[in-house]
Symmetry: C2
């Protein structure tokens, strides 16, 4: 038995240095960080005996400024927060001015060019973000032909539990990310697969296909996933809000309805997006009449229109009015009270009010955050296809 | 135009601190790390004016010991390697004794409980690991019912380019990870999707479905992907080499052949695995007669058999002999010269030689590394289904 265990341990660990995989199993073995305490506070820990200062920064502090962590004699730094509301939080440590990840937390998410650690405090709304013992949908990364962009492009697709085991057709939600995001964003930061699995299991949401394209049509795929290699992500202007995404959106619908058992009529198509994706959803749903009966604008970027030759932004008022008169079932707008886009959204609502357009408006606390966008997804999806 | 740009910039950046997403676009904007130089050396950089010492550690150094980086007056630390062979390398920085990620490189891979940065040096074998402008297969994360394990389990599946657009049946490679790995390992560390895409595009590999299950049957899914939540990964004994994975493997074959257009005969089934997955492949292919005509053992863990009630390890010699007499087309063994498992594999080969079993043996430089396992995948897959 001892011999077997020793042998098994060798499968993990380095025998002769660089030649073997260096798995670091025992390093930091005893340190839990973050630890979720009984009162829903979090304790963060970092073993760093040789540094002068360790700080914690993250949305869980309720402020942007970092807080100082406290050092024990053995070099273990720690900090315990106040009891926290249920949420998916992100955080970093700052060690002598250098922002780093928590060595004891392998759960990280890339948001554009930053990578941050994440932690889920359960016991409330964030329970929707957990993987539970419920039937799970399938998440696929596929490539579709986009003749309008003259390239193949990568796309994320969630099919609901049971999709592969029946012959039914399903409604489709097209779910668009914000500027700097890509086809990974709604899955990683939005916890879309978990939210859909859980709300479908609860009977709150109609089983649906969720399609998450890449809204930066200059890209074929998320950073690292196309032939540009492992480049450093950055701002993705141009080709994000110049009409091209909207013009080439039919390539996506055609791909989905040609490759999935999708109900191909306006009553079974929804489009929603956050920030820039809200801008895209606004224009796509307006520009293609009688295509989407359900529209969700999550903290939408109601941009001043660009000088562009794209026909997408022409005849705005007429096409918008037509959209609302053509059987639209839901036009949902959500924004946070402190969102920097609040005023432009208020102006847009005023415009809608003046034309008698009927929409649903949801105002939340907070700003331009993934916390709000996850909330909006949870509020929006139960209203679809009913 | 200025107004539009300013507005667009606001979509990225924090206006009122914690309430908005903090995307850190401009931080480290000008720092490239790692930079791939013309001579294929790599330059690493880290801005850290307030720390005493920064070191670089990684397999690209050709040794396990870290090297010291050099500080400029402005606090930028850097180090340039020798010209490097084409490879996927992993590395960390060590700042005053603390192992951290490169803030300028968002590309990271989790290997069990460690997260490391990765970089691909092109111009040779690692070109197979790049996403190229070739047709791409689909990667899906699905859940299958495993009655033998009394749970639903997560599985990664690669279907080759064209799979969705024809009605053909495809051969299947079952590709198993090592101890501490999971259904993500071959995709993330093994670059399986890229390797298959590229070798299929080159006409070197027959288009095939690649099935990557989770070999730790005590788990439903990779860490963070099951109902255990975002726990700290660790060693996954027991239930990894006690017969249970092998006993319940028919659940996986049944799922694949019931849900995919898979050619369901021995001539179109292959099984291969690394380390513990090599152990699993050895036993599964032997225990289920006339099931797999192609077997790949990559640095296999030829374990002393456990005291177990599992029938999997009984009648070893007889079932092994039967396997080689039943139409087996390829029994491929690869191992590195400095692998700590070298001797046990040599002993196993001796046993095979004594019984007259015909196998293909490939000995490489190096040890128990993902570099070797990617090589073995590139060597093994062109020999399948021909």
């Amino acid at each position: 038995m001892i011999k077997k265990l020793v042998f098994a341990l060798l499968l993990f660990t380095s025998l002769n240095g660089q030649a073997q995989e260096n798995l670091n199993f025992n390093r930091n073995k005893e340190i839990a960080s973050p630890e979720i305490n009984a009162d829903k506070s979090l304790t963060f820990r970092l073993m760093a005996p040789n540094v002068k200062k360790v700080e914690l920064q993250g949305d869980l502090l309720g402020k942007n400024d970092p807080v100082a962590m406290t050092k024990q004699d053995d070099g273990l730094w720690s900090y315990t927060t106040s009891p926290l509301k249920s949420e998916l939080y992100s955080y970093s440590f700052i060690v002598d001015g250098l922002k780093i990840r928590d060595a004891n937390n392998v759960y990280q998410i890339r948001d554009v060019a930053s990578v941050v650690n994440v932690v889920i405090v359960p016991g409330g709304k964030a329970d929707n973000y957990l993987v539970k013992d419920v039937p799970h949908g399938t998440v696929s990364k596929r490539w579709y032909k986009s003749p309008g962009n003259e390239k193949d492009r990568r796309i994320s697709i969630y099919t609901p539990p049971g999709y592969e085991n029946d012959k039914k057709k399903y409604p489709v939600l097209y779910l668009l990310h914000g500027m700097g995001g890509d086809e990974e964003a709604w899955l990683a930061l939005g916890r879309t697969a978990q939210i859909l699995d859980n709300l479908i299991a609860d009977g709150k949401v109609t089983p649906m296909i969720v399609v998450m394209p890449n809204g930066n049509v200059a890209q074929a795929a998320a950073p690292g996933e196309d032939s540009k290699g492992l480049y450093k992500p950055g701002m993705q202007l141009p080709n994000t809000m110049d009409g091209k995404m909207e013009e080439t959106f039919p390539d996506i619908i055609k791909f989905i309805e040609g490759n999935y058992r999708a109900k191909a009529d306006p009553a079974h198509r929804a489009i929603a997006g956050l920030s820039m994706g809200g801008f895209h959803s606004l224009h796509i749903s307006r520009f293609y009449p009688k295509t989407f009966d359900y529209v969700g604008l999550f903290s939408p970027a109601i941009m001043p229109f660009a000088k562009t030759t794209s026909p997408v932004y022409e005849n705005f008022d007429v096409t918008l009015k037509n959209q609302f008169n053509n059987g639209l079932k839901l036009y949902w707008i959500g924004i946070g009270k402190t969102d920097f886009l609040y005023k432009s959204v208020a102006d847009y609502r005023k415009k809608l009010d003046e034309t008698g357009a009927k929409y649903t408006y949801s105002e939340s606390e907070g700003g331009h955050t993934w916390s709000n966008w996850r909330d909006y997804l949870v509020l929006f999806t139960p209203q679809l296809f009913k």
